[in-house]
């Protein structure tokens, strides 16, 4: 099962190394990892998307993370009301006539064209994983030349509403 875990960690040198090393040596399967500063310069926030086979595997990931001295707090937020976002940059092959078509296509995703070349345009999109993947699927027929994704970073929502509700729009 795929779980989203956040951890606040001391912003010290080598902390990333400690965490990724831990995942590697314990054979934890990790899909994405993001790290960045928080409102407190001494603390960084990491978001992992991990793939575990069962609850015990998940417990181990959380417990082993907690064991690290530089890890302050670990939380599995998958089942909580969260906002989760990633950013993707997608370089799509275009011939001159297609640019307008692509602009129309990405508009509902609130994606933007951030670079235009003679044979390609680069699109930037932000959103949760399904949205990003939906856009990628739509762009694929044009030919994706290059793509870079940041991986998920996530937050709990201020108001606790269940995240199970079906959302009817892919724009959120």
């Amino acid at each position: 099962m795929r779980r989203t875990i956040t951890a606040t960690v001391n912003n010290t040198t080598g902390v990333m190394n400690r965490i990724t090393g831990l995942f590697a040596r314990r054979h934890f399967n990790i899909e994405s990892i993001t790290v960045g500063m928080t409102e407190n310069p001494e603390v960084s926030r990491m978001t992992f998307v991990v793939n575990v086979s069962d609850q015990r595997g998940l417990d181990q990931v959380i417990k082993q993370l907690n064991k690290q001295v530089d890890v302050l707090k670990v939380r599995d937020i998958t089942d909580e009301a969260i906002v989760a976002r990633e950013l993707a940059m997608i370089k799509v092959m275009t011939v001159s006539g297609q640019r307008g078509e692509i602009s129309d296509l990405i508009a509902p995703f609130r994606a933007t064209v951030i670079d235009v070349g003679r044979e390609s345009v680069t699109i930037q999109v932000t959103g949760d994983t399904p949205k990003v993947e939906a856009l990628i699927d739509l762009l694929r027929p044009y030919g994706i030349k290059e793509m870079a994704r940041t991986g998920i970073t996530a937050f709990q929502r201020a108001t606790k509403k269940s995240s199970d509700q079906t959302r009817y729009s892919i724009i959120n």
Binding site: V9, N10, G14, N17, R18, G21, L22, R25, R56, D59, Q60, K63, Q64, N66, K67, Q68, V69, D70, V71, L72
Partner: protein, 575 residues
Amino acid sequence: MNTRVREVKGRELKDENQEMSGSSMLIQALARENVDTIFGYPGGAILPTYDEIYRTGIRHILSRHEQGAIHAAEGYARVSGKPGVCVVTSGPGATNVVTGIADAMIDSLPLVVVTGQVATSVIGTDAFQEADILGITMPITKHNFQARTVEDLPRIIREAFHIATTGRPGPVVIDLPKDVSIASGMFHYDDEPDLPGYQPTYTPNKLQIRKLAEAVTKAKRPVILSGAGILHAGASPELLEFVEQQQIPVASTLLGLGGFPGTHELALGMAGMHGTYAANMALHEADLLINIGARFDDRVTGNLEHFAPQATVAHIDVDPAEIGKIIETHIPVVGDAKEALRLLNEVNPKPGESVRWRMKVDEWQQEFPLWYKEGSEYIKPQKLTELVYEKTNGEAIITTDVGQHQMWAAQYYKFDHPNAWVTSGGLGTMGFGFPAAIGAQFAEPDRQVVAILGDAGFQMTMQELSILQELNLPVKVLLVNNASLGMVRQWQQLFYEERYSNSLFPIQPDFVKMAEAYDIKGYKITDENEVAGVLEEAFNYNGPVLIDCRVHEEENVYPMIAPGQGHHQMEGVKP
């Protein structure tokens, strides 16, 4: 102890809040942590610290190889319960202690290892004797630090000792660049380290204790698996009280031996691959398994599919990550073993109806005791171990390497007291036992320390005979010499159709001559009738002795759970 080492003299505690060098801070901090002995080896990057050691006269034991120093620190820590301190230089000095750090990590021994490092200005430039010891030791330390400024150093040392000795103990590395040890800064030594990410749980949840108490009352076939956590927590008295109150039989892990008296009628001995039949069958048939401070190592559990199939599993451990790691646990208790047992004794649950279970366990013990064939012309290693037990009245501190001799020592030396058994369990490190005995002797100068070693393992760290000679340490080295890598040979015999690939030593040194080269008394025994006499002579002699005891070369360790088998599938349970 008759040592020629300089006594700890002239070691003055300097006042806090004064300017001093990084190396001076280190020695001052060690004094405040009540460190009385450092094991180490000097070198370029750690020179400033060694100058401080020279000037303050703090006791430093000079090994002849860094691996010897770190294993000695481990032996010291295992016996004293205090952190072992090891100081080495950068690069090769640091990489030479890696095995010992990994060994201490997996066996939860508190160590503080200070490694010299090249100056901060050249770190990352492949400077002379530079190695990324922070990166190398990250996966095998509880935590590690690099002191980048001298101002950070006191805090780092304080935190290192705190982390190494609290919660589940473990090794901590402090990487000390040369310029930081020379630079001068203000020395503060705060008592309370501020580590929000490190808050070990000592007091267990009362609700879980009550659940466990209820399970004890309900159980008809309870068994305790006693691990090294009992020793680290100093929980032996509480365990004894609990066991006698509840009349629950106790199986021990290899490292847990001595946590519960080995001669007690409820002691089943060691469980696992070469454990006793009674211990393994009790685990297999139990309806309640209470694991206290053990980590369900694969050498204990055998095939997990067959492990304790009918048992409700309770697990008391100070490290929450151990609970549920290997075995699904029904009653998890996170906390210190001593505290948990104290609370459990306070609740004092009504013992379950387990009279028939006790009878069954007794029957296993009587029907399937440990056995070996006597009366051949060769010395039986099992007999040898029994004689060591007899001649030391079971009161010696025993250290071993890994392998056959280790299993025989675990089987036949009935440890009645905690912290007298020093062995490399999790990592299974050859060359551990001899230097560990040296460290143990420093922790307990007045006790008999016997290093029971294989001839192969001894040859990995035997250069430390120099320490015995130099300090006239009364360590007794007993080589269980089968001229082979006994356990490897045994597996090749059993599982590789007797293809003894590189496990038999065609040539050996004359160990007696070698001892004599170090001015150490040496004996060689080939006849079983001589064993008792030589042991007695050796144990009565106040100085180092090496005994080369030629044992039966084809002796195997039994009983045995073959790899992939369960506890109920033991082989060699009877002659």
